[in-house]
């Protein structure tokens, strides 16, 4: 068997999804004066500078106080406002998880939680600032769609959807640049995966910053005559059971990849469906239950076996188990 090689693809234009979030929020806020942005001294990191200058009275900055931030969000919703609560994902979810449970999820408050710089986006700042547990923490909570868009187009579409949806949700965004993957004008439908490439030999599933990596892995697999189906699965809850069951039935093997701990995230969610409905061999790629050492998100993803070439190799090994 020949070794896989990296394809010499031209340099891609990469986008920070926070920009798409901020632009969309500002556009929506211009037409809806109930929209407020709530943050924890995170105007810059949440890219809320434009919002602040356009709608200064509608920026509610609670200071460095995440528990209060979530409660204030719930109260604003009770008072008829439409709050987008924006903070670094690690603090938003980890520091205020009980507030997210009781005040948002259990109370079913119409609050949009925007986790910025999720995964290992803060790279060299270290594991205190990494948010590789947030899928696990949030996807067990009822009433709370959990969504990790894969590019700027899906980010904008998901923000539009969130504003129109009467209920809470958690949008998990990164600051790490990603290429455009979905077509302009894409409409976000929660709980529905997007077929980015079809194949019959194996299915690759990812979201967020990993979707473009599995697409590249699929191209490498095609060079070896292995046709991979590629699903972008932004919504971790409610998960697209139908797409997963079809993938298991029609391709016989599923690989997942995520910028999250291997425990409790997208891979776990997919595995739950596979085990219940259509058991097939699976491989889950993610951060392998460790605190990362110093490095950028891109470097760490590569180290944890999520470079396109390594993903393709893992898929080849998986196909052999069919």
């Amino acid at each position: 068997m020949n070794a896989l090689t990296q394809t010499g693809a031209p340099a891609e234009k990469l986008h920070d999804c926070r920009d798409a979030f901020a632009e969309t929020l500002e556009r929506l806020a211009a037409g809806n004066d109930t929209i407020v942005a709530v943050c924890n001294d995170s105007v810059g990191s949440s890219k809320l500078g434009g919002f602040k200058s356009k709608f200064p009275e509608r920026l509610v900055n609670v200071g460095i106080a995440e528990q209060n931030m979530i409660g204030v969000g719930a109260g604003l919703a009770n008072g008829g406002r439409l709050p987008f609560v924006c903070a670094a994902a690690c603090f938003l979810t980890g520091r205020a998880l009980e507030q997210i449970k009781a005040d948002i999820s259990y109370s079913n408050a119409n609050v949009k939680l925007i986790g910025i710089s999720s995964g290992m986006a803060y790279g060299e700042l270290g594991p205190t600032h990494h948010s590789i547990e947030d899928f696990a923490w949030t996807r067990v909570l009822p009433n709370l769609p959990v969504i990790a868009p894969c590019d700027r187009i899906e980010t904008a579409a998901a923000v539009e959807w969130a504003a129109s949806y009467d209920g809470p949700c958690f949008l998990r965004l990164s600051r790490v640049g990603v290429p455009d993957l979905l077509p302009e004008g894409h409409v976000f439908v929660p709980g529905r995966a997007n077929l980015l490439r079809d194949g019959k030999d194996v299915t690759l599933i990812a979201n967020g910053t990993l979707t473009h990596r599995i697409l590249k892995a699929a191209a490498l697999l095609a060079e070896r005559g292995v046709e991979a189906r590629v699903l972008n699965m932004a919504t971790v809850r409610p998960i697209d059971e139908e797409a997963i069951i079809s993938a298991a039935r029609e391709t016989g093997a599923i690989l997942t990849a995520e910028e999250h701990s291997i425990f409790g995230g997208l891979g776990s969610a997919v595995a739950e469906v596979v085990v219940d409905h259509q058991p097939v061999p699976m491989k889950r790629l993610g951060v392998p239950g460790v605190y990362a050492h110093t490095g950028s998100a891109e470097m760490l993803l590569d180290e944890y076996g999520m470079a396109p070439l390594a993903i393709a190799e893992a898929a080849l090994a998986l196909v052999k188990r069919k």
């Binding site: 409660g71 109260g75 604003l76 008072g79 009781a102 109370s107």
Partner: protein
């Protein structure tokens, strides 16, 4: 309602609360007895509310942050017409919407789900801030326990309320001096509350929280800053053998104790 009528209503609520806890075999009777005068004043005098339209946008908001005293809230809401009075007999029963902590999606008049301590005040700050943003003239009230003020989230919210200039927010601290396991003073004594709240930019009023006239005056007051009413109360108020006894935080009276307590509360009617 005038003071005497309010006092009479509070006694009726106390009697019903005692009965509900006795029949359910569980509850938080001590902290309910301490808070009932405040609840009564709010629902029968101070709050602008619409029992037939519990989500009316212009309603005043009340958040029971000490959610473990839900039974007293349910009875007060029932007496005020938010839910049928005979439903109180389902308290803690299988399938009842009246569980041990209030659920805003099931019980009309409940604004947000509470139970874990230190949640109600941040949510109330958001409610009051929402009124500032929209120009609505509703007021927001929230009641915490005094032990609950040990939760750091409350102090985050206290800072924010002052920063936001929330003169439409009133915090009532049910200062009964006891928490679940011991006296406040023997646990993490945050008393006196007044200088702490004042240092954070609040206006503070101290009252006897079991004296109806004082309760009404303090709750009706609205100043230029967020207002904290430190309500000095007695845990188990109205029932002699429960009063100021930490073990009555969530103890359930036996038949003999129930009869004695009922007689004491009835005597005052």
């Amino acid at each position: 309602m005038q003071t005497q009528e309010l006092e009479r209503m509070a006694r009726q609520i106390r009697r019903r609360d005692l009965q509900a806890v006795f029949e359910a075999g569980a509850g938080h009777i001590g902290g309910e007895m301490s808070a009932i005068d405040i609840l009564t004043a709010l629902y029968f005098r101070v709050l602008r509310i619409y029992p037939d339209q519990p989500k009316h946008p212009g309603r005043d908001r009340f958040v029971l942050s000490k959610g473990h005293t839900a039974c007293a809230l349910y009875i007060t809401l029932a007496k005020r017409g938010f839910l049928p009075e005979d439903e109180i007999s389902t308290f803690l029963k299988p399938g009842s919407r009246l569980n041990g902590h209030p659920n805003c999606n099931k019980v009309p008049g409940v604004e947000t789900n509470t139970g874990p301590l230190g949640h109600g005040l941040p949510v109330a700050v958001g409610m009051a801030k929402a009124a500032k943003l929209s120009g609505a003239d509703y007021r927001t009230f929230v009641m915490t326990g005094d032990g609950e003020m040990q939760e750091g989230s409350n102090w985050e919210a206290i800072m924010a309320a002052a920063q936001f200039g929330l003169d439409n927010l009133t915090l009532v601290v049910d200062h009964n001096r006891f928490q679940q396991g011991a006296a406040l003073a023997d646990t993490n004594d945050i008393a006196p509350l007044r200088p702490k709240l004042e240092a954070f930019g609040w206006e503070v009023t101290e009252i006897n929280g079991n004296a109806m006239a004082e309760v009404v005056t303090a709750l009706e007051y609205r100043g230029a800053r967020p207002h904290c009413v430190v309500a000095h109360t007695n845990k188990g108020h109205g029932i002699s053998f429960m009063q100021d006894r930490v073990d009555w935080h969530h103890k359930v009276p036996n038949k003999e104790q129930y009869e004695i307590a009922l007689a004491e509360l009835s005597e005052a009617l």
